[in-house]
């Protein structure tokens, strides 16, 4: 049984805007899938339909074998969602928000309190349990929504840009948390604009653009499509013009920074030996962009 099966899903809003044009995809149980796409591509609409916040125009959705048109309540028992925008009562206390959500899933009060404590502790919010939610920082509010989404321990967790506006340290701790959750068996779908995040965490990838899926594949095979790489070399001495290199394209960013693009099958040794021959001393080097970012931009921009 698949964790999620989406078939020919389409959505046209009352304004006439066609947000989804019949997308289809499925997610295996235990998967960690990235759903990427530019703003307005249809990611949040897809999540909205799966979680009943948006009415679909046509198509079908099955969550762990349960069709949402037949028994949405049963299907909802298996899904937890962390939305993009903060959507909790700003005046309620942190622990109350999480435990109350348990009540909506029919969890007895004692169990809801117990789970609220467990997840607030895991997400480093237990000390804030008695504070009104409006007093939390942006990162804490995101973690609060994760704790709330996990209160009924869903088999499928959907996170819509969970690390937006979160500092690097916190983002990394959230990654670890999600990785552990996935290892314990929770299927995770993640949308993000941080492609490094998707590359690190996710095994499969779906790219949506203009309401259509333009890429659906395992992350590894997707990344293998990349046929060139770009490096930036920090130079020990100033250069006035970019050198001519064999089997590589060079351009100066400034006097001390040289950008070099090479084909994937080429080694860097060739570049370094040419630098040595030309008397160019290298102090440091870095990848210009993440590999995924290059592919993503190429796909979305149709290059």
């Amino acid at each position: 049984m698949k964790a999620l099966v989406v078939k020919n899903l389409s959505k046209t809003y009352a304004t006439g805007f066609e947000a989804l044009k019949g997308i289809s995809f499925s997610v295996e149980p235990g998967d960690f899938m990235a759903m990427l796409g530019p703003n307005g591509a249809g990611k949040s609409t897809t999540i909205g339909i799966i979680t009943s916040l948006v009415n679909k125009t046509s198509g079908s959705v099955e969550i762990f074998g349960q069709d949402i048109d037949q028994d949405f309540a049963l299907a909802k028992m298996n899904v937890g969602v962390v939305p993009q925008e903060f959507n909790f009562n700003q005046f309620e206390k942190v622990a109350d928000i999480v435990a109350t959500q348990g009540g909506y899933y029919g969890l007895p009060r004692s169990l809801a309190r117990e789970r609220a404590e467990k997840y607030l502790k895991l997400l480093g919010l237990w000390d804030k349990r008695d504070e009104p939610s409006r007093m939390l920082s942006g990162g804490m509010k995101r973690r609060l929504m994760i704790a709330r989404a996990l209160i009924h321990e869903p088999k499928l967790l959907i996170l819509d840009e969970p690390t937006a506006g979160v500092d690097i340290e916190l983002r990394r701790s959230m990654w670890e948390f999600l990785e552990n959750l996935n290892k314990l068996g929770t299927t995770i779908i993640l949308t993000t604009h941080y492609l490094e995040e998707a590359e690190r965490l996710c095994r499969n990838i779906a790219i949506i653009n203009h309401g259509e899926i333009i890429e659906l594949s395992p992350m590894k095979s997707f990344l293998s499509k990349l046929d060139k790489q770009t490096f930036v070399f920090e130079l020990a001495e100033n250069l006035q013009q970019a050198p001519e290199l064999e089997r590589a394209h060079c351009q100066l960013i400034d006097e001390r920074s040289l950008e070099v693009e090479i084909q994937k099958q080429e080694t860097l040794n060739g570049v370094f030996s040419q630098f040595s021959n030309l008397g160019i001393q290298v102090q440091g080097m870095r990848n210009k962009t993440s590999r995924l970012e290059e592919l993503f931009v190429a796909l979305v921009e149709g290059k």
């Binding site: 809003y13 009352a14 909205g48 979680t51 009943s52 916040l53 948006v54 009415n55 949405f72 309540a73 049963l74 909802k76 028992m77 899904v79 969602v81 939305p83 925008e85 903060f86 959507n87 909790f88 009562n89 700003q90 005046f91 109350d96 109350t100 959500q101 009540g103 909506y104 899933y105 029919g106 969890l107 007895p108 009060r109 709330r148």
Partner: protein
Amino acid sequence: MDRQQKIIAFQTIITKEIRRFTRIWVQTLIPPAITIALYFVIFGNLIGSRIGEMQGHSYMQFIVPGLIMMSVITNSYSNVVSSFFSTKFQKSIEEILVSPTPNYIVIWGYVMGGVARGLSVGLIVTLLSLFFSDMKMVNFPITLTTAVLTSILFSLGGFINAVYARSFDDISIVPTFVLTPLTYLGGVFYSIDMLPDFWQAVSQFNPIVYMVNGFRYGLLGVSDVSLVFAYSVIILFIVILYGWATWLLNRGVGIRS
């Protein structure tokens, strides 16, 4: 969801609603008490002593049931309309929408929250009225049932208003332009027998007349209208408003895009 889970979901919504209005008790419980106390002082004590008896009771005794009912109506309505609209406004309604809680539990949860506040304020006003007049109760079951049913009716009204509302202005339009005039013209301060024939006939179309008179009968044993007809009107309106609220929530009007 099994039956037990639904009961828990229902209790959760009611608890959250009661927690909300008791947390802000200075805004929800005190102002109506002050307003109604002023009515007692001005209309009951100062002006009422010059009016004399009405339907065999002092004017103060006559207006007490109407004022209690007025506070039940306005507080039931305003509790649900402001609470449900603010959950829409803050998007926290999504917490319930993504859960398996059925729509009828959502409606009754909010309605019972409104009833809890309406009856709480009604009780506070009743206790206050004891300082101004001798309270008697002719029929407790009628007093209680008319108050509870009226509270349910206006809580449903508040719910529907909140579903349609798009701004905070929208949640004050109905109370200001519909609820207040109907309440003041609903026989709170006078017996409709006192009106000319034409206005008596017009008053028959005001549902609040039946609620105020039903409640007044429970307390004083006097009413301008038939009790059976009063109950029928209240129950009919509850059925209509509940059907309307259910239709709105099932369609996701104002909630789902």
